[in-house]
Amino acid sequence: MWDKLENQYVTNYPGEVVGTRVPIKYGTAQQASVLNHILGKDLYFYAESGCPTDPDGLAYIAAIEATGLGTVVTPVQKCAIHQFYISAKASGYYNLISRMPFPIWGAAAPNAICMKSLAVGTFTGGVTHGPGYVQGDGVTGHYKFNVNPQTLGLTGTNSSIWGISQPGLNAFGECLIGGEQSFAFINFTLYRRLSINTTAYLGNQAGSVATATHQHDFFGGTRVGTRITLHRRNNTNGHAIVATRISTSTNTAIPPFISALRREEQLGLGARYFTQQANLYGFGLGFTDQQMQDLSLHAKVLLETCTGVVLT
């Protein structure tokens, strides 16, 4: 409808401004998105009916939109975000998530916000905030979670760590998310390295599980007790548990710090900066295999619906 005061068209979902484009209510959010892609020069299609909402989804969307002028969450993105929260709670893993930013918004302030807790970390150094991803400069750029995982209940035998990204390239290892204390003994990381392996360390080095031949995909490691599994999902192969290990080590500590886009560390151990595009990362308590499989699907759908990024 035409807003006489502001001389612009608005929809009723909710009061969305579409400028000079004529708004037409049509179909579902996904159908409207497709039509806008094809015909959206002079027309603007928006969903005939709203989508189910979740209170935590509403809070996250409000936090994103409150970060400043220009950070607008589209109706399609809102629906996808709400669906993620609904799916995560239905699968039973939502309360196991400790921190999970969703850095697709093209700016540091919204990218720093955690979907679960609304806690804000700190982007540090050279980080590019692109459409649908963040990318460190490989020398200084990273994201500090500003929290000790131990205070969130994580232990070496009850923890999980995950992310969606392009493969890392560095022959000496690129850490998508993680922390390490006292080299080789207290390790909680997810490495992504092209053509060699992806390795998740949970608790200590005994948590190492690996796979090869990388693409743009989801990787998630989870540990409950002595059992550690590494999950992978992409559009070529679907979901698979690509590695399983039963750890016999009694050294199960977890570091008191964690970052994304590099391995947070101390004592000059080597930060292992991540150089490629990262779309999503997070950590939490130990997931069951079914829960990690579910997260891999829900995270993939969330990312692909909200952005133009497609897993390979």
């Binding site: 400043g68 490989g138 990273h142 005994a206 190492s208």
Partner: protein, 108 residues
């Protein structure tokens, strides 16, 4: 890498100022440039503050970059201005004593 080479004390002051610039606006501390010890070369023992044109143009929100903030120009002026920036070889930011191997040995 382009940025400022400063003492540890100056680095701490700059990072604190960046933090306060955000918190004084009632927003969380979501961005900083960080400081990085220099291990090799002529500036060994000092700290590197990333301040390339790309870093100063980081999207903080859709319509705000660090260089838009008045505190940014105050800090840059205090550090000698943009012309006082130096090129620092990224290799000099790597601790030569850090282990070269990329993965920890596996046990159990």
């Amino acid at each position: 890498m382009i940025g400022f080479v400063v003492t540890g004390q100056t680095a701490a002051y700059v990072l604190d100022a960046i933090r306060l610039a955000q918190e004084s606006r009632n927003v969380p501390h979501y961005w900083t440039i960080g400081s990085y010890p220099i291990y090799q070369g002529e500036h060994t023992g000092k700290f590197f503050l990333p301040a390339s044109d790309e870093v100063l143009a980081t999207k903080l929100t859709k319509n705000l970059t660090p260089i838009d903030l008045p505190e940014a120009m105050q800090l840059i002026t205090a550090l000698g201005g943009l012309d006082a920036r130096l090129y620092v070889d990224p290799v000099s930011l790597i601790d030569p004593l850090a282990p070269a191997e990329d993965t920890a040995p596996v046990e159990g």
